[in-house]
Symmetry: C2
Subunit: 370 residues, 2 copies
Amino acid sequence: MKHQILVFVAILLCYPGFSQEKQQEIKEDFKPSSKNQPGQEYPQVNSQGYARFRIVAPAADSVRVSLGLGGQGGTKLTKNAEGVWTGTTAGPMDEGFHYYHVNVDGGTFNDPGAKNYYGSVRWESGIEIPAHDQEFYALKDVPHGRVQQILFPSPSTGTSRRAFVYTPPAYHENPDERYPVLYLQHGWGEDETAWTNQGHANLIMDNLLAEGKTDPFLIVMTYGMTNEIKWGGLKDFDIKHFQTVLVDELIPYIDENFRTIADEEHRAMAGLSMGGMETRMITLNKPDVFSHYALLSGGTYSPEDLKDQKDVKLVFISSGSKERPEAVRSSVEELKNAGFNAVSYVSEGTAHEFQTWRRSLRELAPLLFK
Amino acid sequence: MKHQILVFVAILLCYPGFSQEKQQEIKEDFKPSSKNQPGQEYPQVNSQGYARFRIVAPAADSVRVSLGLGGQGGTKLTKNAEGVWTGTTAGPMDEGFHYYHVNVDGGTFNDPGAKNYYGSVRWESGIEIPAHDQEFYALKDVPHGRVQQILFPSPSTGTSRRAFVYTPPAYHENPDERYPVLYLQHGWGEDETAWTNQGHANLIMDNLLAEGKTDPFLIVMTYGMTNEIKWGGLKDFDIKHFQTVLVDELIPYIDENFRTIADEEHRAMAGLSMGGMETRMITLNKPDVFSHYALLSGGTYSPEDLKDQKDVKLVFISSGSKERPEAVRSSVEELKNAGFNAVSYVSEGTAHEFQTWRRSLRELAPLLFK
């Protein structure tokens, strides 16, 4: 178990999100990234997936962007006569969202042109490489659900804790109806803002619902208390603390304050990366709380793990094709052979990053609460 | 009118938020700012209001923080043998929240220790100088309202626009009740996130409600479309665009999708700085939409302005004592003499910054919808 956690942290820290395609001629059709701050022209991306950066720091001696070549130090920018640093990734990036930061004379800063997203236990810069399937998480002229920030009492941690609750359009149109709930966890280094800010979970749901591809349900996102986990610090990790917050504090609060169907059959848990590990641990520790389990780039279940949970309604396991898809597929095959309703999904051409998880949510949602 | 807008932009750009007290011995009781990123030790503040910064940039030649001396270039940091830059403001800062950024070798970046807040048309670093009255916006063990992110259709701008809606605890406890609404605008350079992130408007309301000091109402916050206004660009400013979004698109959406009392008597508009200017313009252009008007460091009304609006229920005008409080007081005196229910508030020891506006909201809320 601890080894598995280490692997997730390692993947998250090291994966460059860098396409394996051969060097090619760079098309000069660069446009501002959709994740830029208002009015900012840089960073830019082109139709091939190259990213181009521009940083003003006239007196600096060295400016690098962490994105582009991973272990080899990212993209080194060069300075022109006006003190403006520019540079382009050495190859195309994978489709979707990437975190990055800028190193200026040995210090770590964010790109002043980009918006910030909480990842790697800091607010990082974010960039979006337009994906061929980006329509499924685009802001469209469809009915929109809400993302409700709540502060729920947590006696075990001695404070009010924040969560976000996605409520679908139907929730507000039908004030007497009750709905199932998906508890959805972020990964290591992230927090409860990740699934909507980076993942666009609300827009994915809005679009699926508008197309009639899923039934409506609530999504609850809170902080998984994972960010204290550092290299070598895993011996101190204990799921008990988050499990108490989630199962004994948040779920009762949600059931009391939202119109939920408050039973195991209508409650799902899913998580990405470390959030998948948490999902796995909590669903195994508390078999009567959730009936639908989903691990997104977050480990697998064996039939042995679930031998006392024959009434689980769905096991969904996914990853990017650049992770270890064979483990996802073989695990699901074994679960099916053991009689479980198990589904695998592999996101083509993506790695341990949010494009994998956006697509995983798109695939998961229509399977829930059937 | 245009002159007044220029003044607001000028104040916002130039005011150092710097206390006028004499140089004093610096107490070594510095603690991390409450606005720091998780786990970050710097920036720090002490009990006198001094701020201390620490930036790692080993190969940099110059690191400055914009906070501390305003026009004189802020606080210059000095480098130790390990390449760590530190520095303390030359004097105590005003109580409350301040925006700032870091200049590294001529480039503008954020402090990697601080969280980011949208101001000055960029995501800025934020720091909090503990105020003697900070309890009124603290996170306490009281019933908490929600902050609901909505996406409302805006035909006039061809997109779905974001707004946040504060719903008080009572709104969720009494599903058959309807509530009045305050439309609350941010200032120049800010956006719809300002009033909750920087202003803690939701916590201010939660605390006032828990103490029985105000009646419950909704607060709606959206982007005021002010950020295109730059020095010299005022000739292009036209309130019409935002007025259409607010009055013709957002208000009908709120009244259709929330349990509001959808009439003039139960609708207020308030704004800070440029948002006050917008409040002033829109309440004068559209006298039948709102009945309670509030300008927070955002100009004044004359009796002549309101000569055809004798049924306005409340005019609230406020500023910091370090702005132009005499204009606030004399304007309210004139309005009272003309028969209006006008109230002034001056925030002691604060300037054109969020502590003034947090306090103004605390003073305004109990006066609304009486």
